[in-house]
């Protein structure tokens, strides 16, 4: 929601982790659009509009 509304004109980086392990996940958005996910094997669920 924040990415597509409040920060819709900005670049946003989310640093996260796999809920089941210690693997880190990094997701990058630019102007509300998903640009990059690391690792590529990460399954991303996006909600909130």
């Amino acid at each position: 929601m924040l990415v597509s509304n409040k920060y819709a004109k900005e670049k946003v980086v989310i640093e996260d982790s796999s809920p089941e392990s210690t693997a880190r996940i990094r997701v990058e958005f630019d102007k509300g659009k998903l640009r990059k996910v690391e690792p590529k094997s990460a399954v991303l669920f996006m909600g909130g509009g």
Binding site: M1, L2, K6, Y7, E10, K11, V12, V13, I14, E15, D16, S17, P19, E20, S21, T22, R24
Partner: protein, 214 residues
């Protein structure tokens, strides 16, 4: 009549003697009681003064109280310390974190998401998860090198984080478990929902905002 009054006086005197005797018997024990009470009070006071925050540390807490909950913020202590310009030491972070742990009444976000969510860094959360998951999955306790590799940080940083997790009483030293020599200190951490424990979602916005969101 006089006889009755004498009897009354005797009874009163006898009562006073008994009272005096009780007092005399109790008095030797009193210093010990009062010392114990004082010691207890002193220890409480020293704990309180030990957790007394400096003006800069209070500023971090006030800042967090102002941002928590806004735009889904569950900002971490380390992030707030950076914003406020606080001394970035582990000691300062621990003092602020301990205050939050001891005062859930400060904000609904502490009560809703738990103090662990707010006071631990992502590295500390991942390290806690590495050790806890090993117990859950009945695997050997990971070694220092294995944790460093799994969390992608240096062994020195793992050691620092383990110290913090021990100070927060999430982990405890236990050589018997092997590996890195730390065990989970409270069963509740093993019983947490495996996919909801020690989570973090750190957000950095190009305009400069750093926070964590739920």
């Amino acid at each position: 009549m006089k006889h009755i009054r004498r009897c009354e006086r005797r009874t009163v005197l006898s009562g006073w003697r008994w009272l005096l005797a009780i007092c005399c018997a109790v008095l030797p024990a009193m210093p010990q009681i009062s010392v114990e009470a004082q010691t207890e009070r002193q220890s409480t006071q020293s704990t309180a003064s030990g957790s007394e925050l400096s003006p800069r540390e209070k500023k971090v807490i006030e800042y967090l109280q102002g941002v928590w909950g806004k735009d889904h913020s569950v900002m971490g202590v380390d992030q707030a310390m950076e914003v406020v310009g606080s001394d970035p030491s582990d000691e300062t972070r621990f003092r602020i974190g301990q205050h939050i742990k001891q005062h859930p009444e400060l904000h609904v976000i502490i009560r809703r998401w738990g103090w662990e969510t707010l006071v631990l860094t992502p590295d500390e959360k991942l390290i806690a998860r590495a050790i806890i998951n090993a117990v859950r999955e009945k695997k050997p306790t990971p070694t220092l090198a294995e944790i460093a590799k799994a969390v992608a940080i240096s062994q020195n940083d793992v050691k620092r984080s383990l110290t913090m997790l021990e100070r927060y009483q999430i982990l405890k030293r236990d050589e018997v478990v092997g590996g890195v020599g730390y065990a989970v200190s409270a069963p509740r951490y093993l019983n947490w929902h495996p996919r909801l424990d020690f989570v973090f979602h750190r957000m950095t916005v190009s305009s400069g905002r750093h926070t964590s969101v739920n």
